[in-house]
């Protein structure tokens, strides 16, 4: 009987909180743009960053420091998974091979999935998407390989080195901006060197956005593949 009381109390509390929220939100006009900063971004995005895709310009250029924080969060998550599931010796323990449909489909699809992921993060300043979706797509390709073949493992040495170098590369790009322009993650390629000003809307434009998004894409892809690898392998006793 006590649990029924507790539950009904919880439901009543939820209803009251929901009513308050609905009252508060009812006064806000939905779909109207009251934000001034959004208009500022949309008006100045082309001449200030050279990117056609305003979302990417905001994520990488105006708020690049936030994005560095996001990459750090992902790195910490990957490290945590690695530390929690650490074993002295880990090996793939899957017994059954993937079915013929899965293996054939994987052989055919994996190159295209990887190409699509690379396309997403290389063209981040032109088309929707960017480093995070592209990297996740590449990790999906590795997930397919892991599911289809029992003996498959990612090349650990190369992946770890790539991950570290790429994370360092992001900070180095930011530090070069600090040296040239005076603040961290200053867009030196676009604003100081002025590369690609007559090229807006093509691949070689957008300042350092493509460079940083390629770095982020590689980092996210290798990290998520590492998480999959850590989750799938099991420790074996000597």
């Amino acid at each position: 009987m006590v649990s029924v009381l507790k539950r009904s109390l919880a439901i009543i509390t939820l209803l009251i909180i929901g009513y308050w929220l609905a009252q508060g939100l009812a006064g806000v006009p939905f779909g109207q743009d009251k934000m001034l900063v959004g208009h500022y971004y949309l008006d100045h995005v082309k001449e200030q960053t050279g990117a056609v895709n305003a979302v990417t310009a905001i994520v990488v250029n105006y708020r690049g420091f936030d994005t560095l924080g996001e990459v750090t969060v992902l790195f910490i998550a990957s490290t945590g998974v690695g530390a929690l599931l650490w074993e002295r010796k880990k090996r793939r323990t899957a017994k059954t091979e993937g079915s013929i449909v899965l293996t054939t489909g994987t052989r055919l699809l994996v190159p295209f999935v990887m190409l699509f992921g690379a396309y997403i993060f290389i063209h981040g300043h032109l088309t929707p998407g960017g480093g995070f979706p592209g990297g996740a797509t590449i990790a999906t390709a590795f997930l397919l390989l892991y599911m289809a073949f029992t003996m498959y493992e990612i090349p650990h040495k190369a992946f770890e080195k790539t991950e570290g170098l790429v994370g360092m590369g992001y900070v180095i790009v930011g530090l070069i901006g600090l040296a040239i322009g005076g603040y961290f993650l200053f867009d030196w390629i676009w604003q100081t060197w002025g590369w690609g000003h007559d090229n807006i809307g093509r691949l070689f434009s957008g300042g350092f956005i493509p460079i940083i998004y390629i770095l982020i894409g590689l980092k996210v892809g290798t990290e998520l593949s590492g998480i999959i690898d850590n989750m799938l392998k099991e420790g074996v006793k000597e």
């Binding site: 929707p128 998407g129 960017g130 979706p133 999906t140 599911m147 989750m231």
Partner: protein
Amino acid sequence: MNCVTCIDYIIIGVMILSAVFAVEWRDLLAAAVGMAAVSLFASILFLILQAPDVAMTEAAIGAALSGAILIFAIKRTQRFETEEEERPGWWIRW
């Protein structure tokens, strides 16, 4: 009768249905698939609402990667939820 927004409502209905199934099913493998279905329909909804970048992220991470990681976890533990306490009636759980 012009009914483009009907598609939105159908997708939202399917999402709510899959979410309820994901909570209610005792078979955890089916529940994980139900959760991935919520993400998949959410990504279609994002595409209809003209946020293709969010749709891509949702499809790759929500539907593919997190579903796969949940399934790996189920493989290492157990597939069916055990009855730990007596379940109250549906009018309280809902």
